[in-house]
Amino acid sequence: MTDQAYNFAYLDEQTKRMIRRAILKAIAVPGYQVPFASREMPMPYGWGTGGVQVTAACLVPEDRLKVIDQGADDTTNAVSIRRFFQRTAGVAVTEVTAEATVIQTRHRIPETPLTEGQILVYQVPIPEPLRFLEPRETETRKMHALEEYGLMHVKLYEDIARHGQIATSYAYPVKVEGRYVMDPSPIPKFDNPKLSGNPAIQLFGAGREQRIHALPPWTKAVSLDFDDHPFQTSKAPHDCDLCGARDSYLDEVITDDAGGRMFVCSDTDFCAGRRAKGHVGRLGEAT
């Protein structure tokens, strides 16, 4: 069903080359936001145009692509992006994390550990971790150049003074190899430990903001914290009601109007895989 009217993976080769250069630079300087000449894509800004451009620049015909949104393969925007690449690149697609060579994601890192040779592409709304402390790009670029991250530590300290803990639950900033403070995109902080020392290549594309940043394989990414207030992950204190997983990130699903609710894995492939192996949760049925 490949659409012959467009080049492989939609973008023309010159544009892909420009994006690949930005990606290579981003990999060479981990955590640094590389400006790139983001193109208008046939989906709106905010729908993952940055991720789509990075994926388009990485794809080769032999690739097997997985697309997830909120951890799930069947959310509407994941379906839409997967279809886009089926149509314009004709690549094979999969829902199985371990089988994918390129995974485009919005807001989650898959539960199944990634392996060497895989590429994880994140969709990024605001790549600048300092943006909500300093709205000016001209200023934040200077702050990164001078490694001037005091403002961020003051913010985290004020959180602790006010709330007794760091009140950031997603898009939790990390410091990459002791140099750049980086926004990992709005993943829940539950996923932060998976950023560090990951054998896969992690690429972050922000289309509207025209930035690409990256974590090469095995790169150290430390979630910001204080000695007396160490970083902590968080998730709903339940097991998955379908597969019984105790250690996966959960979505809360309201089941009736009397306060009934259940908790299920946000990673649909992980959950389905466990159920296929015979794991059954509180409300699940043996398959």
């Binding site: 069947d74 829940p188 990130y249 959960l250 699903v253």
Partner: protein, 366 residues
């Protein structure tokens, strides 16, 4: 028992089908044609071309039809198409002094060489609904124009008003430059931006946003004391150098609206008292946008002219340039309707934790 929501694909297909039906409306009413939109919704077509940065009235009309009249959606369709087009050549700078003008007015001089030409303007219409336009089938042709058709017809050069003031050294000069202007559709926007880049961003910026920014300067947020020195609308030739031929060839004509403001200026630490200029140039007949653009251009030039930064939004280059693009703005605004339940879950857990801790502290205090 919860069944995980499957069927995203079917939902998308059905939504698209419904959308197509809604676009068509009542099948008993004849379908709009592209030439009808192009000819009779021309100002909408102009806006889509200007903000879409692509001069093609037929495609703009198609985009308006496909977008069901949502002009920002139409601009988006044009932008997404434009970005796939190869760059075959760059044209020579168009010469607006050689414009075949349909409209040319100056608010600063009662009469001037070349004359004042009102052209097709709403300016002196009374805004009364013309119910005759509603009468079906009774399409009358426009009444014939009285007197000479277009006094400017046949003129080859219409001098710019600013050049009259320039003769006395009363107005700043804008030196010609052969530096290729930057292109924000091919390079990431870099700040601080030079004037050419600012003008490019403004000319494809959202008309409403640029209008409000300009309006704010008139109300005192970065006042620039602007007069419309000249506003002209007409067609100009687009010429391209053909290397094999060794000379430039005209490849077509485009309609443009150009506005130059003359701004009172009492002088600053660095500049003598003289009139200064703001500039607006927009594709098609888009005079609201061209006037607004020239006011915002002037307000953004405070640094170069040694004026004070008063903190006005229209003086703030980063604020104006980063927020004037309606395709970026509407995309980011509307994306918050996409699923965010993973992050919301993280926030839920945080609020629950903070609440239980606050409650425990309160109970301990009691």
């Amino acid at each position: 028992m919860y069944v995980a929501v499957k069927g995203g694909e079917r939902a998308i297909d059905n939504a698209h089908q419904w959308l197509a039906e809604e676009r068509r409306g009542d099948p008993a009413v004849p379908e709009l044609t592209i030439p009808q939109i192009r000819e009779q919704m021309r100002l909408a077509v102009n806006r889509v071309m200007a903000e879409g940065s692509l001069y093609d009235p037929d495609l703009a009309a198609l985009a308006i039809k496909q977008a069901r009249g949502d002009l920002i959606e139409a601009v988006f369709l044009i932008r997404a198409y434009r970005t796939t087009l190869p760059r075959l050549a760059g044209s020579l700078p168009v010469d607006t002094g050689a414009m075949a003008v349909d409209r040319r007015i100056s608010a600063t001089f009662k009469d001037l060489p070349g004359g004042q030409v009102l052209g097709p303007t709403f300016d002196y219409t009374h805004r009364l609904l013309d119910f005759a336009l509603m009468a079906e089938g009774a399409t009358q042709d426009a009444p014939p124009r009285v007197g000479e058709a277009n006094p400017m017809e046949g003129e080859t050069r219409v001098p710019h008003v600013a050049s009259f003031l320039n003769r006395d050294g009363l107005i700043e000069t804008a030196d010609a430059s052969d530096t290729p202007p930057p292109d924000l559709t091919r390079e990431p926007m870099e700040l601080p931006a030079d004037r050419a880049l600012r003008l490019q961003a403004l000319t494809r910026g959202d008309e409403g946003f640029v209008l409000s920014m300009a309006y704010s300067t008139q109300r005192g947020y970065g006042r620039t004391h602007a007069f419309v020195g000249e506003l002209r609308i007409g067609t100009v030739a687009v010429e391209v150098d053909i290397p094999e031929l060794g000379f430039a060839v005209e490849i077509g004509e485009i309609e443009l609206t150009e506005c130059e403001t003359v701004n009172q200026f009492k002088g600053s630490k660095t500049e003598p008292p003289q009139f200064t200029r703001g500039y607006g140039l927009v594709m098609g007949q888009s005079e609201r946008k061209a006037i607004a653009m020239s006011l915002v251009d002037r307000a953004l030039r405070w640094q170069e002219l040694g004026e004070d930064f008063t903190g006005a939004p229209a003086q703030d280059e980063e604020f104006v340039l980063m927020h004037c693009d309606n395709i970026q703005a509407t995309g980011f605004l509307e994306h918050i309707k996409l699923p965010h339940y993973v992050d919301f879950q993280a926030e839920l857990e945080l609020v629950r934790k903070l609440r239980s801790e606050a409650q425990a502290m309160q109970e301990a205090a009691e």
